[in-house]
Amino acid sequence: MSVDKDTVRKVARLSRIKLPEERVEPMTEELNSILGWIEQLAEVDVEGIEPMTSAVELSMPMREDVVTDGNIQDKILANAPRSEDGFFVVPKVVE
């Protein structure tokens, strides 16, 4: 399987990364060299093998459903690029 330039543009869009037109061709080549190398995985017989989801078997730990943290508005906003009156300020989302 190899990717074409349109697919690369689409993947860049999915990744929310602006890809200048002059980078499309080199990125296509780079991704294809990596994907071509990854391709060899297809030859492994995985009949009846369950996909691995965790490196160490463990059951998800449960805790009491209680509030353990909060009231830290200042801390949460401390690193915001823009904030006002206790809110994050972001570009217009809805027209």
Partner: protein, 490 residues
Amino acid sequence: MSDLTKLTLKAAVDGLKNKDFSSREITQAFLDRIETVNKDLNAYIVVTGEKALGMADQSDARIAKGEGGRLEGAPLGIKDLFCTQGIKSTACSAILGDFAPPYESTVTQNLWDQGAVMLGKLNMDEFAMGSSNETSHYGPVVNPWKRNDGANTKLTPGGSSGGSATAVASDMCLAATASDTGGSIRQPAAFTGMVGIKPTYGRASRYGMIAFASSLDQAGPIAKTVEDAALMTEIMCSADDKDSTSLHIPVPNWTKDVGAGVKGMKIGVPREYRVDGMPAEIEKLWEQGVAWLKEAGAEIVDVSLPHTKYALPAYYIVAPAEASSNLARYDGMRYGDRHTSGDLIETYETTRADGFGTEVQRRLMIGAYVLSAGYYDAYYLQAQKVRKRIAMDFDEVFSTCDALLTPTCPSAAFGFGEKAGNPVEMYLNDIFTVTANLAGLPAISVPAALDTQGLPLGLQVIGKALDEASCFKVGGVLEKAAAFSHKPTL
């Protein structure tokens, strides 16, 4: 007084406890050392001198009262991947701007709770994606070692924990925190003549560690000796409610395993690790390692891990897929840098294009592609099944042996730019280390010899899950037999 920066962590902790010198003295010695050599090596990107001296004074006060933790007064370096409260933590990426976390990572908190002193934040590949430190936004770290050809070529300390490795190897800290997703502790340790261990997945909390690939990321130390590495690992590891994959089991006393020997142990030598193009001297060193362990009373068994060659390709699906999900949070809205352009989507796209470096962008796109509709089964699901196969290979060999001995890397440290042209060639550096991440196993790298170019080479010991003890036992024997005492000339 002799040069305090050259002490091992153990010797420094003992000296502090005995009041042979104060924490302020040793901390100042390290700050002076950093002042002298860091500008050429670029290991520290932030030096927290004032904070360090403040912590040192507090340690001295505790020591004076006969109190103190297991690392009381000992100055350490912290990889920039770990969040440190109020101190810039960016995983060496431009996208995090001047992010100063309002919280502390569990691993670093564990160190401060035992009295350690923080010298500063250490350089690394951006978001830990790299094997040469060349992807850092702050420029590459330089390896203090040089080839003996007189050419003075600048070499990489490896990556992603290149800053940690160089800082310890050039006496800019007693030991350092590091992290390992595909080999990022062990490869830099090997390239700089240091000891590095990745514990079993889940031993050290990931809380406050900037995420790359969550099912593979694991914290560990880079240190000067196997004993120092054991001491650091004991303190860094803990059960933590803030990390849902943290193992809620006691942390053993690993320092006592270091001198325990290997008599009666069975050590496996996996034949698939004898790869094409591996330098003859690495093969020879591996045989030497086998001979050392035999002399120390271990039994050597030939074993097979048939799916080894598929580990790296599987890793380069799983890791980018997890990264594309983890790094979706960097949108320029809540923290980090925002580059406004047009509408919201365009602002996201510009922020991320400007904030992420080339290698990170490449991996995020690979991740988005392998997870996208129509390709999920062929790539991601297949990779997770292959990963299971690799883990099953290990289960099988560990029914016949206690630990595995391999080289750490297929080469010694290389020069900047020598592998930058081809991403796949760079990825092949992790060929011997990545399997332990995929299977979640503990693995240690111990310096074993210099090659003909005068550069350090490491041997790796892979243990069963939760059996770091065997890594420390075998590592201790290798360290003693190799008697590696070479130092880079700075």
